[in-house]
Amino acid sequence: MAAQNSQVHLVIGSHFEDIELVQIVVEESLRKLELDDEVAHSISLAVGEAVANAIKHGNRQNPEKRVEIDFGVDDNEVVIEVTDQGRGFDPDNVDDPLVADNLLRPNGRGILFMTNFMDHIDFSFKQEGGTVVTLRKRLPSAAMAPGPSEEN
């Protein structure tokens, strides 16, 4: 992600209470892009779901295991990667929470949230173990990020 004009990298332990910290970083980073509040809120929600899954399913709440969040802005897109140290899973083999039989399940809606709130989501799996969720959202061109600041 070298050509990006904004890049923040954050690493937390596997504590649910740190999800808010991640969301604050995302919201603060989005604030500079002057995105619509609704859009910023939904990106923040999607990231929260990805980090919750990384902690819960990936790292199984082992506090020693880390979750890494890469927040980047390309010319026209916000790209957030969430990486855990878990064993991965088969995204094609996840129950559909919209099927009538599953409607009353207490969980299984996180990926649905992510796909609804982002333009594109993608899972990849590292050779050495670990899931990477990549969340992408195109920016309206009016909300383009300014280039790197040159103030002194």
Partner: protein, 112 residues
């Protein structure tokens, strides 16, 4: 999370404020619903007007609450959905599950 509790004509109204999200408000909401049931109340109306954010865990707790209350022969209904929560009930297709009201008086009398 702060959850207000009131009673109106045999209906217990829960009023969560702020976030119903993983590790923040989800467990608090679950416990509150269980407390109300343990006190023998069966009709629960959750006023979501002051909820700023709900994530999939929070939605999960609403669904669990609904199931638990229904299984015990009671009713769980929702009042005053903020637009964000409304959107999420659409996305999750839970609009077909929950009975939602916009008016407290009507909501309370609907428990009959």
């Amino acid at each position: 999370m702060d959850i207000g509790v009131r009673k109106e004509s045999g209906v217990t109204i829960l009023e969560p404020k702020g976030k119903i999200t993983i590790g923040v408000g989800d467990i608090a909401l679950r416990e509150k619903v269980h407390n109300v049931l343990d006190e023998g109340e069966k009709n629960i109306l959750i006023n979501l007007a002051a909820v700023t954010t709900i994530d999939s865990s929070g939605i999960g707790e609403l669904v669990s609450g609904y199931t638990t209350v229904t299984n015990r022969g009671g009713k769980l209904k929702l009042l005053h959905l903020p637009p964000k929560v409304q959107d999420i009930l659409q996305i999750t297709q839970l609009v077909t599950v929950f009975e939602v009201h916009d008016d407290e008086g009507e909501a309370v009398s609907s428990f009959g």
